[in-house]
Amino acid sequence: MGHRTLSLNLVLQALFLDGEAYDQLRDDDNPFIEGLFMIVIIAAGVALLSFLGHLLAWISMPPMEAIKEVILRTLQQMPWWSDMAGNAQAYESFLQSWDMGWRVFPALFGAPDPLRGAANIIVMPLAAVLGWLVYGLLAHAFARLFKGVGTLNQTLGTTALAYTPWLFYGLGIIPFFVVGGVLGTWQLICRYKALRSAHHLSWGSAFWATLLPYVVYALLLVLAGGVAAVLVVMVMGRQR
């Protein structure tokens, strides 16, 4: 049984950028296991708290079906409605978009959904671990490229501490609480600290090692978008 470095105090120290926390985890006998354990606990814990928040928000709002009905009734009073309803094809197309919109948009705008909240208890830890491993591997490769001296075990251990800002998702237990995108920035800063500590890099090298994995993500996204566009064009071409 190895030495246990992880503690609530260490997590809070890492969250608030205390360099000692990163150094301590780097010097642990198995930073990877400590990091994995911490990520799963944080992600599952905050997902559970958010689920309770979703539940509270859900019972304090009128049912989505009732809202949908009021809006449909209002749309039917619009000047263009009778023209549209008279055209069978246009009406059919409207109904399809209407139903699709109500499936997509409420979730997109953060409408409380206990089912989604419950699913997150499983999805969030999985997504966190996957994101951590992918980023960790890429960042390790770039850090080594910049003459970093850390091991993969140390890179993964310290970059796991970049998930400490996720603790704020736990405030989701308060209904209608929104965190927004700031945690992504905070996580980026923690990742920089982690790579600098694990690989003893200069600030410039640590900066590039932190940023380049995001560049890879962006390139992959562009590539996926391009492939999807080509596929769509091909499918549409065949249909003609």
Binding site: F16, L17, I59, S60, I67, Q77, V182, I189, Y192
Partner: protein, 264 residues
């Protein structure tokens, strides 16, 4: 607590020892985080109290709805003379627009009056509370004009990068913690709800905050005044330029579309 307020006060008066003392604290980032959260919540307090009052008020009655729609009609009538440059046909459509607005206002009222499992005041109170607590995390605007973690960390990253490129020697925690002091004068925005005076106090808070931010960058990175000014204002200028270029592009695109639509 008294010592904490003492640091904030001395920093507001730009006393160097307050900045250096703050920078050298081991928990400087946490202290900065605290300042941002406390000030953001304080500034959002009047709006929160307003929402609480709204939450405990009875539902909107038919008469109140009628009054609200009359106000909208009045407002549209007032701007009618200003729409002289528009074609007559478009101005005649104003009546239709008024009718559509009334229908949607009525729909909004009907939705807010729909019943939920929790009784209305409780649900609305929770909504007000959740929205208020979210302020430090989501509030955004022109760089350093609002107090939030978004501005503090998001804008701070660019300033930190530039300061480092200019030879700054500050640490991440030291810079972010010290730069959070820019939030202190923004407590003046607590009075944003007061007509005229609120805007003036907000502007004073913004400019004062900027000065503190420059001082914090200077102290935390041990830079000269000139370099600190460059580090703080170049990202701001870049954002303004990007916005202007973006607006010009959108404007050109829209005018092109309008002219092509008119020609066809």
């Amino acid at each position: 607590m008294k010592a904490w307020f003492g640091i904030l006060w001395n920093a507001s008066l730009l006393r160097s020892e307050a900045f250096t003392g703050f920078r050298d604290r081991r928990d400087v980032f946490f202290q900065g985080f605290l300042i941002i959260v406390v000030v953001a919540l304080l500034v959002g307090m009047p709006a929160f109290l307003g929402n609480v009052v709204k939450a405990v008020q009875p539902r909107m009655s038919e008469a109140q709805l009628e009054e609200a729609t009359t106000q909208i009609e009045k407002g549209l009538k007032q701007i009618e003379p200003l729409l002289g440059f528009m074609p007559t046909e478009t101005r005649q459509q104003l009546t239709d627009v008024t009718r559509v607005i009334k229908v949607w206002v009525a729909a909004g009222v009907e939705i807010s009056n729909l019943s939920a499992v929790l009784p209305r005041p409780l649900g609305a109170l929770l909504q007000a509370f959740g929205g208020w607590l979210s302020l430090p995390f989501v509030e955004s605007g022109f760089p350093l004009s609002v107090v939030s973690l978004v501005t503090w960390l998001g804008y701070g990253l660019w300033v930190m990068l530039l300061a480092k490129l200019l030879g700054g020697r500050g640490t991440l925690a030291g810079f972010f913690g010290t730069s959070a002091l820019y939030a202190v004068p923004h407590v003046l925005s607590f009075f944003a709800w007061v007509p005229c005076l609120g805007s003036v106090l907000g502007l004073i808070g913004f400019v004062w905050g900027l000065v503190i931010y420059v001082k914090a960058t200077l102290v935390s990175h041990e830079l000269s005044v000139g370099r600190a000014l460059v580090a703080v204002f170049v990202p701001m200028l870049a954002i303004v330029l990007l916005v202007l270029v973006g607006a010009a592009l959108v404007g050109a695109l829209v005018s092109g579309m309008i002219s092509s639509a008119t020609q066809s």
